[in-house]
Symmetry: C2
Subunit: 378 residues, 2 copies
């Protein structure tokens, strides 16, 4: 690239999706590391663990028993961060200093846990695209089931692959956050392959910031920011990790985490419900590629947090039409299975900072990490 000089100098990059900057210090990886080491994940888990609250047929902490499920299985989180009903709270609308500086709003919603497989010892990296497809289908069904009737996306018919045991939510929700915390380093307390879905009556910070930028770009340029970004990346070919017909896997120009990637739909798709069945399989393949390449990078079960950003459940037409489906992966490991990047003092107080360049990270994930999962030939 003409910007090869960026490999050697400190610089800031702009994240147009959040409207924020980060600091890149490529030369900093030379620094010796004497700090905390992560414990590499145990790789010899049993296929079924009688003590696991997610395994089929087991009893959960609050007393419910899981069915002997074979497909992805969803239930309401026993320790939900938000609930459907709670005592009412109406902040006083006075005009004094404290109502200016001590502001709070109640939030209700519903939180789900979704298992990706009945097997305790598998991860998304172990699954084939065809095995991930039912997870994508279930995410789609759950998303569809929570759409506001006023949302044009609610008119799209969605294939029911499984009967969902979900009662309709009691008040209209604004946002659904689908995410996964994988690995102890990312605060995951149970290795059974699973993700979470938190829905809330309010629009959270991150999607709110992205929606502002996406709408602004659409207004100024008449096109989708991420469709344009896909075009630029496919031309440059410097940060691409993998692609198929429908999806691009890229280490974004503005990546903060060392091996951060984004899966972006190449065409403008507002949400999961916009995908054809073929596109769902293509998306499942992209997820399989990311997670397998991650595991191959340091030959370890790679920790990360991932999450899907798409159209809000309820929103203005502008918000819904500006949304462009994508999935973020934020993995902490930097140099090996045990040495992570800490986003701490400077990052928290001043600005996110990264050491290797996104181009270097993409090259490794693209050129060195394809092929079979390393565990297969151990």
């Amino acid at each position: 690239m003409p910007e090869a000089i960026l490999n050697d100098i400190s610089h800031r990059r702009y994240n147009p999706l959040r409207g924020s900057w980060l600091l890149v210090s490529p030369h900093r990886t030379k620094r010796p590391w004497q700090g905390q080491q992560e414990s590499p994940s145990k790789i010899t888990l049993p296929e079924y663990d009688p003590a696991c609250y997610l395994c089929p047929g087991n009893k959960r902490a609050q007393g419910d028993t899981n069915p002997k499920y074979v497909e992805p299985f969803v239930f309401v989180n026993d320790y939900s961060a938000v609930k459907e009903s709670q005592a009412e709270y109406k902040p006083e609308a006075s005009k004094d200093l404290s109502s200016l500086l001590l502001r709070a709003d109640p939030v209700t919603g519903r939180c789900y846990v979704i298992t990706f497989s009945p097997s305790h010892n598998l991860t998304l990296a172990d699954l084939t695209p065809a095995q991930i497809l039912p997870v994508v289908q279930m995410w789609t069904q759950i998303y569809a089931a929570h759409l506001s009737p006023s949302n044009p996306l609610s008119k799209i018919e969605v294939k029911e692959t499984q009967k969902l045991p979900l009662s309709p939510p009691s008040s209209q929700l604004r946002w659904m956050q689908i995410f996964e915390n994988k690995g102890a380093a990312m605060g995951c307390s149970n290795p059974h392959p699973h993700g979470q879905i938190w829905t809330t009556t309010g629009l959270p910070e991150e999607p709110a910031e992205e929606l502002i930028q996406l709408q602004k770009y659409r207004k100024e340029n008449g096109r989708s920011l991420l469709a344009d970004y896909v075009k630029v990346e496919m031309e440059k070919e410097e940060r691409i990790v993998f692609q198929n017909k429908g999806f691009l896997v890229v280490v974004p120009w503005w990546a903060t985490w060392p091996f951060e990637v984004m899966i972006i739909s190449k065409e403008h798709r507002r949400a999961l419900v916009d995908f054809s069945e073929e596109e769902k399989l293509g998306f499942a393949e992209a997820v399989a590629e990311v997670t397998r390449r991650y595991d191959n990078l340091f030959e370890t079960s790679f920790p990360y947090s991932s999450g899907i950003h798409q159209a809000p459940l309820e929103g203005t037409e502008e918000e819904i039409e500006s949304s462009h489906f994508h999935m973020h992966f934020y993995p902490p490991l930097l140099r090996s299975a045990t040495v992570r990047k800490f986003l701490v003092g400077y990052e928290l107080m001043a600005e996110p900072q990264r050491d290797i360049t996104p181009e270097q990270a993409a090259k490794r994930l693209r050129d060195d990490c394809g092929g079979e999962l390393y565990r297969k030939h151990l």
Copy 2:
């Protein structure tokens, strides 16, 4: 408080200093924890460690030798994230998509390391206010030495308590970030008590966001946001941890980290150089109180990242006059010396989320953690 109901319901709180929201789920602490445990810090370090690159008289990684210092000692970081000179980079100013979506700016600057004590086995929590005072004086001197001549703060005379071995920076810097990463859990790789100072030609994200909010508040209300906030907190008496004549230590209404605190100057002070010698000692006392109370909370050497926000080195009059000196402490521990809060999936993808309320955290730090450092009577 009339808002006692907030102890039992999920709600969002607004952070007027950043202009952002966070989710509070007080009931969530009941959830059992089976995830990662932090290793409690070793407490039997030697007073001098021949292998430590920060101990007096020792050789550093890049070949320099530390003097046999007795006062706080500062030097340029051997692995600086930004440097004073580097190859030039001028992004092309074209009008195509890639210059819209792949934006970068060069950053130069200088990074320092500052030791707080010659003793390898002490931390700020072990020091008296009088022993922390020289650290505050050094921070002040370094800040003053980097002020732009156009900054009105550069006219204030600063007491030289130590000759600083600092050459003047070669280009004018915009921001100085003083911070500390303490403990392995916060990415600190050397237990020798030390902090860092990174200075840059650009204004980083966090102070930029705060400056926007501070200026907006001043414009709309004619007063300092944080002076008003101090007033509200002193009236409410619900989140105060400690106070003396010049400073308030508070768990902010909008705290994200479980035991997050802020030290705020009660009167409007723009920066360290605005402090009288008496105020410097008062600030040192506040730092001593925070760090000792932290250690007493779980009877462990408490990890945290801390950082000072004050006026920019160079800025508009509005920016400088709206700045209000404060120090943030972001500590990760939640329930014990080994169980931390993870800000991961939902937090990264959607919005910061906390479990205990700021009021509960403040009460514990205020009522249960005063008195002598727990290690003293072990």
